[in-house]
């Protein structure tokens, strides 16, 4: 049989049939069938816990299914471990990148398969093969001899893909590839996917962003509760239908908007500059309002929040928070009634080895007992209230947060602000990496907090929200401002702007 593109296009490169896996009493996968052809992009969507990652682990050899068959090309495919899978030509590009930051690009690309003679690395061949693998992308800035740690997240991801190509893989699995990319990098990634597709690679594309899957995938499979809930050519299905398959019901309104009453100014920033970013940023935030900050990754949005919360140094400018003015560290910001949810849940937002209760009460361990004592029982009682109000799925306040799903972890991170009773909420990418249902909960919560329906104290809260996902900014915010290269544009009511315009401003093509 001569391998040819024509033939490959008909028969699937990878075929899974009736794959099942259970962990104790939990059925993670219940007879999933799934196939990818060479030169095809197959989107895989589903809520967290729907079985996507179990499916991918089975595919990558990280775990073995209890039953079912897998075929790759003409052979039975039963990888015992990830190395096995890679040798067979299946490469995973995970959400958490797995590069050695201290090594160079070329060393990373050929890590574990360095060409050598008698143990001595043949540097010239390393260079040649790295250059060859990188030649697939038009990214001259990724030089083979540069240290990976100095590259941006987007560039690191490309290095990871280059690594897969250097092994000669036939199939690539991309797990949430755009979750930490800015819009322009997303575009470049999509262009690369198109190139790989033409070369006859089979690609599985896992994402929470339905719009992306619509754009990039030829077919889409929707998982729910470990089963295939729907499968379709991407052209023949609407985003709303995909969401309906995912959640098993119609999502009535993703972005609720109750009546919000804008009150007094509670946060006022005047010409605030950090060490590099932000640069001379001014803004006013009122009680009862949600102000969104759009922009590309690296525009300085996170730095703005960190500077005004006292986590990064301020070079000049002033911050007034309620009745307090001047710079202050995080401890005082909390005392002044502001709280920050970090964009980086695992590394900064939460103490993963601690319990839900410990995480939620960490900023304010007062009032849980006499003379500065912290009685776990009282701490748990206070936490239970927010577990109920935010609908956090956990065994109880004593459970470790590392055991919760991403969406529930995020609710814990936001719950900390509510437990503290802050008036000003600084939310950095509050819906990153969580599923649609959890996103809907967080949107509803933001709306309820702004309108004053939920939370402690009276009146609406003031919310400053950074997001890279434009539909959610337009859906949930009252006003949106765009940040570009450290500078913040004017905040305008969402009625007066659209996505295209925000994108143009964010990429610096249109100055206002």
């Amino acid at each position: 049989m001569a391998p040819g593109v024509a033939q490959a296009a008909e028969a699937p490169l990878l075929e899974m049939e009736g794959v099942s896996k259970r962990f104790g009493a939990t059925v993670a996968l219940a007879g999933v069938s799934f196939s990818v052809r060479a030169g095809e992009v197959h989107g895989l969507v589903g809520e967290n816990g729907a079985g996507k990652s179990t499916l991918m682990k089975a595919l990558s050899g990280a775990l073995q299914p209890d039953s079912g068959r897998m075929r790759l090309g003409d052979a039975v495919y039963a990888p015992r471990n990830p190395l096995d899978a890679r040798r067979a030509g299946v490469a995973m590009i995970y959400q958490e990148l797995s590069l050695a930051n201290h090594l160079t690009v070329e060393e990373n690309i050929l890590l574990g398969m360095e060409p050598h003679r008698g143990g001595f690395i043949r540097r010239r061949e390393v260079r040649e093969r790295a250059v060859e693998a990188l030649s697939h992308f038009e990214h001259p800035e990724i030089r083979p001899d540069i240290q990976v740690g100095r590259l941006s997240v987007a560039a690191k991801q490309l290095v990871e893909i280059a690594r897969a190509l250097a092994v000669g893989c036939r199939m690539l699995v991309l797990d949430e590839p755009t979750s930490s990319l800015a819009q322009q990098d997303v575009e470049r990634l999509f262009a690369l996917i198109a190139v790989l597709k033409k070369q006859g690679k089979a690609i599985v594309y896992i994402s929470h962003f339905i719009e992306e899957v619509k754009r990039v995938a030829d077919r889409v499979t929707i998982l729910r509760d470990g089963k295939v809930a729907g499968q379709s050519a991407t052209d023949a299905i609407s985003p709303a239908e995909i969401v309906a398959f995912m959640v098993g019901r119609e999502v009535e309104d993703l972005y609720p908007r109750s009546h919000r009453q804008a009150g007094e100014v509670v946060l006022e920033i005047t010409e605030l500059s950090g060490m590099e970013k932000p640069r001379s940023v001014s803004l006013q935030l009122r009680r009862g309002e949600v102000l969104g900050i759009a922009g590309l990754v690296g525009a300085g949005r996170t730095e703005l929040l960190r500077a005004l919360f006292g986590l990064d140094a301020i070079r000049s400018g002033s911050v007034r928070l309620g009745v307090y003015s001047g710079a202050a560290g995080p401890r005082h910001r909390w005392q002044q009634g502001a709280g920050l949810v970090s964009e980086n849940r695992k590394e900064e937002g939460l103490a993963m080895t601690m319990s839900v209760a410990d995480n939620m009460t960490l900023s304010r361990l007062r009032g849980f007992g006499p003379c500065n004592m912290v009685m776990p029982r009282r701490q748990h009682r206070a936490t239970r209230r927010w577990i109920a109000e935010l609908g956090i799925h956990c065994r109880g306040p004593g459970q470790r947060v590392s055991e919760l799903s991403g969406g529930n972890q995020q609710k814990v991170a936001i719950g900390r602000l509510l437990q503290h009773g802050v008036d000003v909420l600084l939310l950095d990418e509050p819906t990153r990496g969580i599923d649609v249902a959890a996103k809907a909960t967080i949107y509803r919560l933001i709306d309820e907090l702004a309108s004053g329906e939920k939370g402690t104290g009276n009146g609406g809260k003031a919310i400053l929200m950074v997001s890279s996902y434009l539909p959610e900014l337009l859906g949930i915010c009252d006003r949106v401002a765009v940040m570009c290269r450290g500078r913040l544009g004017p905040a305008r009511p969402v009625m007066e702007i659209n996505e295209t315009q925000l994108m143009l401003e964010a990429t610096g093509q249109e100055r206002v």
Partner: protein, 326 residues
């Protein structure tokens, strides 16, 4: 049902080192000569554990916060020398000399903490340097010799960790052991029921999160290192009461025993985990092994091999349990 299982499992987790201690003890009761299981020997084990155990209380805090202190051994020696010097050369009474030993330990601990937080040098390096500095200082104070203390100046200090005389037998164990027990209760309560304790855990679990939540990370760390310094000074006082001379070369490599006690007791060097009960069990396990081996007439080199193996096995079991519960 699953919840109950988890609770049992969790209970076993914290009790693991204690069960290990009980297991090791009864193993020796079976294989060692009868002299091992006498009350007298239990008393001996308790007295031998007091020095390492007291220093390990401080080390528990340090390790939970994700740090390490390599200077404890030297600080114990400094404590020994300081107490001797204060008694003999400065002519202070036993209480003042004892407090002086604790204070000088706390002072050097505080310096460790300040260097770690203000210079942003990792604890391993700062305390490695301090280990040499303090050992040198101890030798300097003692002028490269031992400080002999007149017996009449010792007063009750020589009984602090000595075998009890018949009329004192109502105390069961000497005052030094009681002191270690009381301090252990205080530290355990502090870790569990105070803001300071929760902050220590938070810093060890994720320092960035702690900072984000407004924990005064630097202040807490300085406090932790000051405390371990004070505990080391107290351990020095106990060591002195056993030696009754100010020997600056004592407690060599003691820091390794102290770290081993915490680690056997379930402390994780990456921070966020550890318990006082576990640490004490870890300290006792090591003494029980050496005592048992001694009674069986085994040589010192056998004891060392056994203790070394126990450390690795204990931590390996701990990791295994982590994978089970995670």
């Amino acid at each position: 049902m699953k919840v109950i299982n988890n609770k049992i499992l969790h209970g076993l987790n914290t009790l693991g080192p204690v069960l290990g201690l009980v297991g090791v003890y009864f193993l020796f009761v079976l294989i060692a000569p009868p002299s091992f299981s006498t009350l007298r020997n239990i008393d001996l084990i308790a007295r031998h554990t007091a020095v390492v155990g007291t220093a390990a209380l401080g080390m528990t805090l340090v390790i939970i916060s994700g740090g390490i202190d390599l200077s404890v051994g030297s600080l114990v020696a400094l404590g020994v020398v300081a107490v001797a010097w204060l008694l003999q050369e400065a002519g202070l009474g036993p209480i003042a000399a004892g407090l002086g030993g604790v204070a000088i330990g706390a002072l050097f601990g505080w310096i460790n903490g300040v260097l770690i937080t203000k210079l942003r040098v990792v604890p391993f390096i700062v305390t490695l340097g301090m280990m040499l500095v303090v050992r040198g200082a101890a030798k300097g104070i003692a002028k490269e010799q031992k400080i002999d203390v007149d017996p009449d100046r010792l007063s009750w200090l020589s009984d602090f960790l000595a075998m009890l005389s018949p009329e004192q037998s109502w105390m069961l164990v000497p005052p030094g052991v009681w002191l270690m027990g009381i301090l252990a209760l205080l530290v355990a309560g502090m870790l569990r029921y105070t803001r300071f304790g929760r902050h220590i855990f938070a810093i060890g679990s994720n320092e960035d999160t702690a900072r984000l939540c407004g924990v005064a990370v630097d202040r807490v760390k300085i406090m932790i290192y000051t405390l371990i310094g004070a505990f080391a000074g107290l351990a020095g006082l106990m060591q002195f009461s056993r030696l009754t001379v100010g020997d600056p070369t004592t407690a060599m490599a003691l820091e390794l025993d102290v770290i081993a006690a915490v680690v056997i007791g379930g402390g994780s060097l990456s921070g966020g985990e550890g318990s006082v009960l576990g640490t004490l069990a870890g300290a006792f396990i090591m003494t029980v092994i050496s005592s048992g081996c001694e009674q069986m007439g085994l040589h010192n080199w056998v004891q060392q091999i056994v203790t070394g193996s126990i450390i690795v096995v204990a931590v390996a079991l701990d990791r295994l349990r982590h994978r089970k519960t995670a």
